[in-house]
C-alpha cells in the first residue's frame, strides 16, 4: 500500500476528488432540469485517476482528454465557472458555448480538449509531445483515454510513433471496463493490456485507479521518466464508472450488484477511510471540504445562470483563425 503523504497533501487530493464529484452530481441534476443538453458523460468513480495523475504534471505540460473530461479539466485547474458556463452554452464558457461538455479547451492551461472521437486525442497528444521536443522545452504531454480506444487503429499508430520517435508523452488509459455497453473482454482478443503494450517497446504498468495515492505515485514516477528520458510511458488505471455511460443509457449490460461492489471500492471512500483510520482527518474536515466543494459548484452554477449568450452574428467567427502567423 502506498505511503500516506502529508496531511495537507492528502486533504488536497480528497478535496480535488470531492470537487469533481460534486460538480458531476450537479451536472446530472442540471441535465434533468434541461439546463445542460447534448451528450453528457460523467466521471463519478474515476476521480482518483485525474486527480492522481494531475499531481505529476506541471503548468507547462500539455493535456489531451476525452469527452468524459470534466474531471481532467477540474483537476487541471480550469475554473468551475468557465466550465459550467460552457455546459450552459454561455459566452462566458471556456469555449464561448461552442464546445459543450465533450469539448472543453483551455489554451492558457494547455488543456487541448475534450475530444468526442474515441481515440482521436491520441495522435494529437503524440504531436504535442513532438512539438515540445522540437521546441526544445522539457514539457511533456499527458493523454487520457478510455480502454475502448485501444481497439482503434489510431491507438496502435500513436503508440508506435511515440515510441519510435522517443516522444515525451504519458498515456493514461482509464480502464473502466466498459466502452458504452461493451465489456473489455468482448472487445479485445488479448485482455491483458500491459501484455499488449509489449508490441511498442514502451514502459507500461497498471495501477489501481481507485487508489488516488497509488495513481499519484505511479504517475509521478512515469512522468519523471518521460520528462527526463524523453520517452513515452503508459499507465493503465483500473477504474469503474459509477454512472451510466451518458444520460441515455439504461445499463442493460451490467448488474446493479456489480456497480454497488465497485461503489464500495470508490476513490473517495478509500481515501477517507484511510485518513480517518490514521487520524489525519476528522468527520468535520470531510464535511468542510464537501461544503466548500458544494459552494464552489453553487457559485459556478449562478455564474453560468447569469451568463450571456454569444451573438448569433458571431456564428462563423473562429472558423478561420483571426490572426495570421
Amino acid at each position: 500500500m502506498t505511503l500516506l503523504p502529508t496531511r495537507e497533501h492528502a486533504l488536497h487530493l480528497l478535496s480535488e476528488m470531492l470537487r469533481i464529484r460534486c460538480f458531476e452530481d450537479r451536472c446530472a441534476e442540471l441535465y434533468s432540469a434541461g439546463k445542460i443538453r447534448g451528450f453528457l458523460h460523467l466521471y463519478n468513480g474515476e476521480e482518483g485517476v485525474a486527480v492522481g495523475v494531475m499531481q505529476a504534471l506541471r503548468p507547462e505540460d500539455d493535456i489531451a482528454g476525452t469527452y468524459r473530461e470534466h474531471g481532467h479539466a477540474i483537476a487541471r485547474g480550469i475554473p468551475m465557472r468557465s466550465l459550467m458556463a460552457e455546459l450552459y452554452g454561455k459566452l462566458e464558457g471556456c469555449c464561448r458555448g461552442r464546445g459543450g461538455s465533450m469539448h472543453i479547451f483551455d489554451r492558457e492551461r494547455r488543456f487541448f480538449g475534450g475530444n468526442a472521437i474515441v481515440g482521436g486525442g491520441l495522435p494529437l497528444a503524440v504531436g504535442l509531445g513532438l512539438g515540445e521536443r522540437l521546441m526544445g522545452r522539457d514539457a511533456i504531454a499527458a493523454c487520457f483515454f478510455g480502454e475502448g480506444a485501444v481497439a482503434e487503429g489510431e491507438f496502435h499508430e500513436s503508440m508506435n510513433l511515440a515510441s519510435l520517435w522517443h516522444l515525451p508523452v504519458l498515456f493514461i488509459c482509464e480502464n473502466n471496463q466498459y466502452a458504452m455497453g461493451t465489456a473489455w473482454s468482448r472487445s479485445e482478443a488479448e485482455t491483458d493490456l500491459i501484455a499488449k503494450l509489449c508490441g511498442y517497446h514502451m514502459r507500461a504498468e497498471s495501477v489501481d485507479g481507485m487508489d488516488v495515492l497509488a495513481v499519484e505515485d505511479r504517475a509521478r514516477e512515469l512522468a519523471e521518466y518521460v520528462r527526463h528520458q524523453r520517452m513515452p510511458a503508459f499507465l493503465e488505471a483500473r477504474t469503474y464508472r459509477f454512472r451510466a455511460h451518458s444520460m441515455y443509457d439504461p445499463q442493460l449490460y451490467r448488474s446493479k450488484a456489480e456497480v454497488e461492489d465497485w461503489e464500495n471500492k470508490g476513490p473517495l471512500i478509500g481515501l477517507t477511510q484511510r485518513l480517518k483510520a490514521e487520524n489525519l482527518m476528522a468527520e468535520e474536515d470531510f464535511i468542510r471540504l464537501q461544503r466548500m466543494a458544494n459552494e464552489e459548484v453553487d457559485d459556478a452554477v449562478s455564474f453560468a445562470e447569469q451568463g450571456s449568450l454569444e451573438r448569433v452574428e458571431e456564428l462563423t467567427r473562429f472558423t478561420y483563425a483571426e490572426q495570421t502567423a
Binding site: R37, G38, R98, G100, M102, G153, M180, R186, L252, T319
Partner: protein, 334 residues
Amino acid sequence: MSALPQTARAITYREALRQGLRSVLLNDPDVFLIGEDIGKYGGCFAVTKGLLEEFGEARIRDAPLSESAFVGAGIGAALAGMRPVVEIMTVNFSLLALDQILNTAATLSHMSGGQCPVPLIIRMATGAGRQVAAQHSHSLEGWYSHIPGLRIVTPATIDDAAGMLRAALEFRDPVIIFEHMNLYNVQGELSVDAASINIERAAIRRAGQDISLITYGASLYKCLTAAEQLSAQGIEAEVIDLRVLRPLDEKTFIQSVRRTRRALIVDEGWRSVGLAAEVGMRIMEQAFYDLDAPVERVCGVEVPVPYAKHMEEAALPRVEQIVTLAASMVKHVG
C-alpha cells in the same frame, strides 16, 4: 415535425427502422448485422434493441471500436456471399472507415471488371439538432454522394425508414442509409406495404405550382411546414423529397421545376460543394430556359456545428428562412 400525421396506429421512425431490420433478418438467412453496441447495449439510438435476443450473437455482432476493420469485414463478408448490414454510430465516425468505403467498397466492382460487386449495406446516423456539437453533428450524406459506386439513401418518412433497407438489398452495390438523428422519435403511420418502397425515385410530398422546394431527410419537415405557411400567403410550393442522393433522380425535380419555374433547395449539409450545388447545377444544365428566377439554396452554415442551442439553430436551415426566401423568389419575378 408537425407536418407528419399522428395517428392511433402511429409508430416511431426508430420502430420503423427496427421493423425493417427484423423483416430482412427473418426473410434472408444471409443477412446479419455488425456494429458497435448494437447488441447488448441495444444500439446507441436503440434502433437494434431486442434484435440480439431474437437473432443471437452470430447475426447481431457487437464490434469493438474499430470502424475501419468492421466495415472492411462487411466488405469481405459480402464478397464471400453474405448480406452484411453494418451500423456506424454516426457519420462522423465513418471518417475512420473512409478508406474502406471509398478505396475498396465503392471501387471493387468497376476495378475488377465487374467480377466483384460489393453488396454491403451501411447504416449511419447523421445530422444536427440535438446539441451534440461539432464532432457528432455533421451532415455528410451529400458529401458521400460524390462517390461513384455508392448508392446513398436518406429515409425521411416512416415508410421509407421501414422499407428502404429491403429495397437496398435488391442491389448488389454498397448502399449507405443515412438516418437523421432528429427523426428517430418522429411518429407516423406505416401506410404502405414496405415491398413497394424503392430506392430509385424521388417523391413529391406535396404538390404545388409556384415554386419547387427540393430537399431530403429531416429538412423535409421544415419544407412541409414552410409550404403550409407559404400557402397562407397564397403561394403553393411543391415539396420534393429526393430520398436517393446517388444516383440522383433528376427527372422528378427537373419536371417539377419546368412546371413551377422556380426552385429552392434546402440541405442541412454545408453549403459549398454540397448536394444543393449539384441539384442547382442540374437545373441550370437542363432547365435553364424554364427558370423565372435563379435557383436558390438554404443550407447549413459553413461552421462546425456549435453546442449552444441558439447557435446550433442559427447554423441550420430554418423554416422562416425558407418561407422568406421562397416568397421573395415568387414575388420577385413575374
